[in-house]
């Protein structure tokens, strides 16, 4: 346990700086709707904020607990599903979102114990399969498009969605910051580095992974609720689609897995890049985006954040690579 304790001050100092910077940025963004009335700008920033929340939620499980969850969209979808239903039925959106998050977490814990028996790649593809099962089932059970009733459409205020997105983004960043500095978070990182060694030191692998899973899926569920609140109409199975998972994954990786600021930077870059490419090269945008993306992964396997540390650290040559 002393080894973990030694890590503590380091984590705190580094992350607190970033947390402060990010929260300040959020505070500034809070003033945006006052000065900018353009919907396209607000929508763009909304998308970034939603992406930050989704990426941070994925980051908790992957970056801190070291588990690559490819079924993340399932929890996003569950959150969206329940929140939408409850909100349309009359419940205030915040409560509806909370209910959605609760449902997502409950579902996660249900399958979590079994799922965590899988390691590495098997956990990744197992969770992907689970999410696909859910997507297909929802698609079969609710094939009709979900559209807001006229009254809701009339009362639609983009600024409300915007502020909710801002709040959620702040919550997700705050959660990760608190986690990183906490004992629990350090335990998770120990699991991520070397599960066997951590267990030998008395850290409970499964317990911490479930905690990480709960936080991760709760945030994802909230993000799903936000999605449901934002869109006027969509197919219920849409938020269960794998591209939501991959987007979160990419953003986190680009920015740097396992860091506080990684998903934030990654989300900003990713969304901006995607929108820019989509506008500039309408016909080819997915093609170019895919190619760009491969380039980023190839050049910086750890993400943009690693680029900084790589330059500083002396690379000690290890095992021969094939």
């Amino acid at each position: 346990m002393t080894r973990l304790g030694a890590l503590w001050p380091l984590a705190r100092r580094h992350d607190l700086g970033w947390a402060a910077a990010i929260m300040t940025a959020f505070a500034v963004l809070g003033l945006l709707p006052v000065f900018v009335q353009r919907n396209d700008v607000l929508n763009f920033v909304f998308l970034i904020l939603l992406s930050i929340s989704l990426a941070q939620s994925w980051n908790i499980l992957a970056g801190y607990a070291g588990q690559v969850n490819l079924g993340h969209a399932a929890f996003f979808g569950v959150g969206a599903l329940l929140a939408r239903a409850l909100w349309i039925a009359g419940l205030p959106i915040v409560l509806a979102m909370a209910a959605g998050a609760l449902a997502a977490t409950a579902f996660a814990l249900l399958i979590g114990v079994a799922a965590f028996r899988l390691r590495g790649a098997y956990f990744a593809i197992g969770t992907l399969a689970l999410a696909e099962i859910l997507r297909i089932t929802i698609g079969n059970v609710l094939p009709e498009i979900s559209t807001l009733p006229a009254a809701r459409i009339a009362g639609y205020r983009l600024s409300e969605r915007y502020y909710l997105a801002l709040a959620l983004a702040a919550v997700s960043v705050g959660t990760v910051a608190a986690l990183a500095a906490s004992r629990t978070g350090l335990g998770m990182q120990a699991i991520r580095e070397d599960e066997e060694a951590a267990e030998a030191s008395g850290v409970s692998g499964l317990g911490l992974k479930l905690v990480a899973l709960s936080l991760s899926t709760a945030l994802a569920g909230l993000a799903g609720g936000l999605f449901a609140y934002y869109h006027i109409s969509y197919y219920p199975s849409h938020p269960f689609g794998p591209h939501w998972t991959f987007d979160a994954l990419l953003m986190t990786f680009i920015g740097g897995v396992g860091t506080l600021h990684g998903p934030v930077l990654g989300a900003i870059l990713y969304v901006t890049l995607k929108e820019y490419v989509a506008l500039r090269w309408v016909d080819f945008h997915l093609l170019i985006f895919g190619a760009l993306f491969i380039g980023i992964v190839l050049l910086l396997p750890g993400g943009l954040v690693q680029a900084g540390t790589r330059a500083r650290r002396l690379v000690s040559r290890r095992a021969a690579k094939p």
């Binding site: 000690s316 040559r317 290890r318 095992a319 021969a320």
Partner: protein, 242 residues
Amino acid sequence: MLEVHDLHVSYGDIRALSGVTLAVGRGEIVALVGPNGAGKSTLLKCIAGLLRPRAGAIRWQDESLVGVAGHLIVERGLALVPEGRRLFAGMSVQENLELGAFAARARGAQSANLERVYALFPVLSERRRIAVRALSGGQQQMVAVGRALMSRPALLMLDEPSLGLAPRLVASILDALVEINRAGVAVLLVEQNVQAALTLAHRGYVLESGRILGAGPGPEILRDPHVRQAYLGPLAVAPDAS
């Protein structure tokens, strides 16, 4: 033939070897002894191309081996029998041996070498088609040595061949090494069985905590009081008495 000079190897931040220098000459048997974790395996893996050193030189017949890919090092005439044998479990004895002759230098004489290995280890000859996972530890070690021999090496390196073997089998493996050496192959032997290794070898090195503590003719090292105390204990037989 083989010259290692001031080699430094690290695993991340952990220093495994700090300035190791040794040499193996033509036709020699050189033993490398030392405690667990001294870095003996690391040294062999580095020479064989499985690890990259941080600094230092490895020269083989005046050419540098650093940075050369593992299979090309085999092409140049060095073969390693790794710790734990690491055979291809699902394949037969014959298939394992044949794979050892994958290198171009060995392909032409494959059948001749195969017969030579079977002559060296007759018990394998009766088990050619049997999957190696069905063999005993001693027999597996023979396959491992045989596989390395199939590449027609000029230098044979072995990492703890006696590990987990009964004394009788250890003796037969070591006898085989003497015979191999007599045929002109130099041997670099890493062994925990210090007595056996140093009795067999022409020269020896003692490696402790990543550093060479001593070097000299085999019997001389056996007589060294530090070596005797650290590795041999009260029951050790002095070399002159054998």
